[in-house]
């Protein structure tokens, strides 16, 4: 199986007053061609840093301290700004949580959609037609008329459709969706999820979908990557990970989702404790302090335990948790 994206031992550190904050520590994951891979994790797990690193959009005080990022076998962690510009939009595109941040407020939708076709040597009218066709494809009513609209004239759901249309327009190999439904209402959220599924089938791209919503990941993704405190703790097919998690954090996280409980319970589950201080991360397993399975061995760095490939978990007790 070819891999559209392969991240290997990626580490990113932020310079802060209190010292180096190790936001990502040796993160490895892969996105096979044509699959939808979800990244799930709570605040502080490093999701946004990972996206920033993939797109070379990290803040000034962040440094990539190691690791590689390969997009279709091309190293992009060290790519030149010129090469990156070619890759963005063409081979890899993004849909952000708030489409207002990715759409230019003073330029019409039509012009923005023509502009991203700047590499193609076709006429204005043809670019316009392609833009309108793409808008129609994402379910925009009156697509031709909407070309002259400005982002603020559209509702949140419609703006997100425009953002998806623009991201899919150049048929990228990888579409990164960073919490694209978080700001939307539930009834719109499922519309957008359905749309992403259809778009994926049509252009055959891989999608990296970031969300903190377990239900959305379960609904949409083929594979899932679970992150905690800057590390990947578990990765695998979505059915495997959600039904038979092998890392205690994944297991607890799924247990905590009240949507899973079909009966009223006296006491809702939670994960006691809090995130470790990432300026001085503890040795060994990062989840040790909050883990019910923790034993003495957890002071050592956990091995990568493979279950049903590609399902693996970074835990000394993975087999026990997996059951």
């Amino acid at each position: 199986m070819t891999k559209t994206l392969e991240v290997e031992r990626l580490s990113v550190t932020y310079a802060t007053r209190e010292g180096g904050l190790q936001a990502l520590r040796e993160v490895s994951l892969e996105v096979p061609a044509g699959q939808i891979v979800g990244i799930v994790g709570e605040s502080g797990c490093g999701k946004s840093t990972l996206i920033g690193a993939l797109l070379h959009l990290l803040p000034e005080n962040a440094t990539r301290t190691g690791g590689s990022i390969r997009l279709a076998d091309e190293e992009i962690a060290t790519a030149s700004p010129r090469r990156l510009r070619d890759l963005r939009g063409q081979d890899m595109s993004v849909v952000f949580q708030d489409p207002m941040t990715s759409l230019n407020p003073v330029i019409s939708i039509g012009r923005q959609m023509r502009d991203i076709q700047y590499r193609d040597r076709i006429g204005h009218a043809e670019k316009n037609d392609r833009a309108a066709a793409m808008l129609a494809r994402v379910g925009m009513p009156d697509p031709k008329g909407k070309l002259s609209a400005y982002p603020h004239e559209l509702s949140g759901g419609m703006r997100q459709r425009v953002a998806i249309a623009m991201a899919a327009m150049m048929m990228p190999k990888l579409l990164i969706a960073d919490e694209p439904t978080t700001a939307l209402d539930a009834t719109l959220e499922i519309q957008i999820i359905e749309l992403l599924k259809e778009i994926q089938k049509e252009i055959g791209c891989a999608i990296l979908f970031i969300s903190h919503h377990l239900g959305v990941i379960a609904e949409l993704c083929d594979r899932v990557v679970v992150m905690y405190a800057g590390e990947v703790v578990e990765e695998g097919a979505v059915e495997e990970v959600f039904l038979r998690p092998a890392h205690p954090y994944t297991q607890k996280l799924i247990e905590c989702d009240p949507g899973r409980l079909k009966r009223k319970v006296a006491s809702l589950p939670s994960i006691p404790g809090s995130l470790p201080d990432l300026t001085n991360p503890p040795a060994g397993c990062i989840f040790r302090a909050r883990c019910p399975y923790a034993t003495d061995i957890c002071i050592e760095r956990p091995p990568r335990v493979t279950l049903t490939p590609p399902h693996w978990a970074a835990c000394h007790h993975a087999q026990e948790v997996h059951g």
């Binding site: 932020y14 310079a15 802060t16 007053r17 209190e18 904050l21 005080n61």
Partner: protein
């Protein structure tokens, strides 16, 4: 509890720009306070034999057309400048703070009225307004202060109003209202502490502006009465003899440059530290 290097002063001392600012400002303030002790000559003493003396060991910055020691006069001028600046900035800042909070927190019509008032005052060029007021009022330091207050309080008003407006609908203000907090409590306990940051930055940035207004007015002859050793007056004296004895005007400008640099550096450093968005790191 909180470590010293995380306090405002601690963080300022870690910033070289702030350290330069603090050194310059404390130097100027100390020189103004101890002017009488430091001054090598009486600033009023005229010595006709030593008119237009160039800088020397005896007269560090030379003498003027009446043979008065420029250095001693500049030290006295520092007193005047700081007095005018402190008084004028305090008064205009206080008026601006009160009006700005009223505009931001009060009803819509009051906001519109005050905003119109602020904009009208700001539309006048400072120096024209100063000339008009100087024509109406007797010549003296209090006129200078009035001119500064009239021309600058609206700026504080606008800054405070903008801050207050953005805080007015913040959830913590709603929470206080829901708890039954009175208008006064909300304004003084919850809004005021949050508008003070930008307010002090503005005040620090404004101090040198005020000092140059005073100097400018004195230079134009509508500021301090003749004979008062203000920096502007020194510049004016020097200007008349700029071709023959340039050191008078040069030394008259020196403290203005220092004071402007000092307070501007301080304002910038304060802004870096108080505005979380500009803070380096997290």
């Amino acid at each position: 509890m909180t470590h010293f290097r995380y306090t405002l002063l601690g963080r300022l001392l870690a910033d070289p720009m702030a350290v330069v600012a603090i050194v310059i400002i404390s130097g100027l303030v100390l020189a103004a306070i101890f002017a009488d002790v430091i001054a090598p000559h009486d600033f009023r003493a005229m010595n006709m034999a030593d008119r237009f003396a160039p800088p020397s060991w005896h007269y560090w910055l030379g003498t003027d057309n009446l043979g008065r020691d420029t250095f001693s006069r500049l030290l006295q001028g520092g007193r005047i400048a700081l007095y005018v600046a402190m008084t004028a900035v305090s008064i205009s800042a206080l008026i601006g703070l009160v009006l700005g909070m009223l505009a931001g927190f009060g009803p819509r019509w009051l906001d519109n009225t005050l905003l119109f008032f602020f904009d009208t005052l700001r539309a006048y060029p400072t120096i024209i307004l100063a000339l008009a007021l100087a024509a109406l009022l007797p010549r003296g330091l209090s006129t200078v202060i009035i001119v500064v207050v009239v021309t600058s309080f609206s700026e504080y008003g606008r800054v405070v109003r903008t801050q207050t407006l953005s805080l007015k609908n913040a959830e913590f203000i709603l929470a206080e209202r829901a708890m039954g907090a009175s208008f006064g409590r909300i304004v003084f306990h919850h809004i005021l502490p949050n508008v003070l940051g930008p307010f002090f930055i503005l005040a620090a940035m404004n101090l040198p502006v005020v000092i140059t207004i005073e100097a400018g007015m004195s230079f134009l002859g509508i500021g301090v009465p003749p004979g008062t050793p203000s920096w502007g007056a020194t510049l004016k004296d020097g200007f008349d003899f700029i071709r023959t004895t340039p050191w008078i005007i040069l030394s008259g400008g020196l403290p203005l440059i220092l004071v402007t640099l000092g307070f501007t550096f301080l304002g910038e450093a304060l802004r870096d530290q108080l505005d979380p968005k500009l803070r380096k790191g997290r």
